[in-house]
């Protein structure tokens, strides 16, 4: 029996249209006219199963239906169709019971108490999740050690750096030993070192304690580092369910260099890179790691043209999905 079982999941919303000043508002109050209501399907038809101890990336462009799915998995939202079972429970019907078995981290919204020291937030969460005192102490010591929380346990959360706060958030969501951890953009806005630290911790957590992790992210590096399997959704439908390797190899290896030339060049070309787009003196060049390294490419460019500015973009999931549409699945 898989831990998470989703079958033909569907979620439709009705969206009301607004506007028209005070008179428009009055019109909406007194009549149904002018109250344009559209129906939008955030999740059309999604089925998948996640086994215990798996670490799965759940990805797709913005608005693809990722967070709507996560909300249905956690019981925040009731599906409009299909079924969800998590650890033998129906999330929306047994939400409170399920809540004690799951951990949720929203990367952009902390669950910690803003004005209080981190340790106090953890203490409050212990009461919220009814973690026994002994178990709590043991767990806190372990997490403090693994996430290196010691230096800022006594500092108010609002004074923490983004990376420290994320570590605090992770600790907060693990105090009650959840069986499954939902992570929504856990590395967003972090620098490379902080990202790596979080990734190492998650890998360790998954390997040692067998916690199942469902991860949404825009960062291809998160995915290839952490997961073996990925689900790609777009427009509320499952586009891909399979190994990370094939996708990462084929699309994820492609990086992009944005170049501002000092002067207009008729037909710019650099060996090893593909000219993807061009606007005046700005060029978008994509290249593959195994074909040419960034330094070599930059060197080749500067040798040929006068360059004003350069930016290196790592591949993100938007680009991967775009290319899947363009080129099909491997």
């Amino acid at each position: 029996m898989p831990l998470v079982h989703v079958e033909h999941l569907q979620k439709r919303f009705r969206v009301a249209e607004r506007g028209g000043g005070p008179l428009g508002a009055l019109r909406r109050v007194i009549s149904r006219e002018g109250r344009g209501v559209r129906e939008v399907a955030a999740v059309e038809d999604i089925s998948f199963a996640i086994g215990r101890g798996e670490m799965v990336a759940y990805v797709g462009p913005n608005g693809a239906g990722k967070s709507t799915t996560i909300k249905m998995l956690t019981g925040i939202l009731v599906p409009s169709g299909g079924s969800v079972v998590v650890d033998g429970l129906i999330p929306w019907r047994q939400r409170t019971m399920l809540a004690a078995r799951i951990g949720v981290v929203f990367g952009q919204r902390t669950q910690l108490w803003w004005d209080l020291p981190l340790i106090e937030s953890l203490r409050l969460l212990r009461h919220i999740y009814k973690v026994p005192e002994g178990r709590y102490r043991e767990k806190l010591a372990r997490l403090t050690d693994l996430l290196d929380l010691g230096p800022f346990l006594d500092r108010p959360v609002r004074q923490l750096s983004l990376g420290q706060r994320m570590r605090g958030d992770l600790a907060a969501s693990l105090l009650h030993d959840p069986k499954i951890l939902y992570l929504d953009e856990p590395t967003i806005g972090l620098d490379v070192v902080a990202k790596e630290r979080i990734r190492t911790f998650l890998l360790d957590l998954n390997r040692r304690e067998g916690v199942t992790v469902l991860l949404t992210t825009h960062d291809m590096a998160d995915i290839s580092r952490l997961c073996e399997r990925m689900l790609i959704i777009d427009h509320g439908k499952l586009l891909y369910d399979g190994g990370v390797g094939a996708i990462a190899e084929r699309y994820g290896g492609e990086r992009r260099l944005v170049v501002d030339l000092a002067e207009d060049v008729a037909a710019p070309a650099v060996p090893g890179a593909r000219l993807e787009r061009r606007e005046g003196t700005r060029l978008w060049l994509s290249f593959r790691r195994e074909e040419i390294g960034a330094p070599a490419l930059i060197a080749a460019l500067t040798a040929r043209y006068a360059i004003r500015d350069l930016t290196l973009e790592e591949p993100d999931i938007e680009a991967v999905v775009r290319r899947i549409y363009e080129e099909g699945l491997p």
Binding site: G19, G21, P22, L23, G24, A25, L26, R28, V29
Partner: protein, 263 residues
């Protein structure tokens, strides 16, 4: 000049987008008007006139002041204080326009919206359900319009100054609440100043707050004619000059502080 007019227009448009809030606000104004009217009707039972106010005058006063709440915006306004806190004030001050004039323009645009969509409907409710009296001549309307405008400018200056105090303290919210709610009483919003005990009344009518609600109200009720009317308008004008001057001075020392200490 154009840029200030443009600021006023922008702000008017911006408020127009809050349609539903306007409706709810009107309902609230109307409800409180109803409650206050009921109290006066009960008080006046068997008594034709009190402190120079007939019941009709009292009801007119109730609905007029209910309507003036939003145009005068006395219930707190921290837009400038917020820009001070966020630091974006520095770039605002660096723009090649008069800072005070820019905000005054914006506030007048906002007031225009609130006169049209809050004051006017409130007066209409009073007219339809309580038969309140309106000024009888074009001249009286003109005098009231002028008085109303001066009151709005005065209220803006007061709010502007409280906001600018944000340069020195982070506690503007508390000060705003404190001052404006006191203002509620001293302007004659809660009770007409004519009902105050004589000693208190003598002081309160001399304060600038009387020029925000009490004076426009007297003019709307046509309680002053000829020379008296001019005197009332003159008093408002005097306070406007004083307040604008004070706001300028305060802003100048605030900018100096910003330049010296870098905020």
């Amino acid at each position: 000049m154009r840029v200030y007019l443009e600021a006023a227009r922008m702000s008017y448009r911006c408020y127009r987008t809050y349609g539903a809030a306007t409706l709810a606000g009107l309902a609230t104004n109307g409800f409180f008007g109803l409650l206050r009217s009921s109290v006066f009707i009960a008080f006046y039972e068997g008594r034709p006139i009190a402190e120079g106010y007939t019941l009709d005058d009292a009801l007119t006063y109730v609905w007029l002041t209910q309507g003036m709440i939003m145009p005068l915006f006395l219930w707190g306004w921290l837009e400038i204080a917020d820009t001070i806190r966020s630091g974006s004030i520095a770039s605002d001050l660096a723009k090649p326009l008069d800072y005070f004039g820019f905000w005054l323009g914006r506030d007048l645009g906002r007031a225009a919206y609130h006169i049209l969509y809050r004051w006017l409907p409130t007066i209409l409710i009073g007219l339809i359900f309580f038969g309140i009296g309106l000024p009888g001549s074009a001249l009286a309307w003109l005098a009231f319009a002028l008085s109303f405008l001066l009151a709005i400018v005065l209220s803006f200056c007061l709010r502007f100054m409280i906001n600018v105090v944000g340069f020195w303290t982070t506690d503007v919210r508390g000060i705003m609440g404190m001052v404006l709610l006191f203002v509620n009483f001293l302007t004659g919003f809660l009770v007409p100043l004519e009902f105050f005990p004589p000693a208190l009344r003598a002081i309160v009518t001399e304060l600038p707050f009387a020029a925000m609600i009490s004076i426009p109200n007297k003019i709307f009720l046509e309680q002053a004619q000829g020379r008296d009317l001019l005197l009332l308008l003159g008093r408002q004008l005097f306070w406007v000059v004083v307040f604008v001057g004070a706001a300028w001075l305060l802003l100048r020392s605030a900018t100096r502080k910003l330049v010296v200490q870098g905020g």
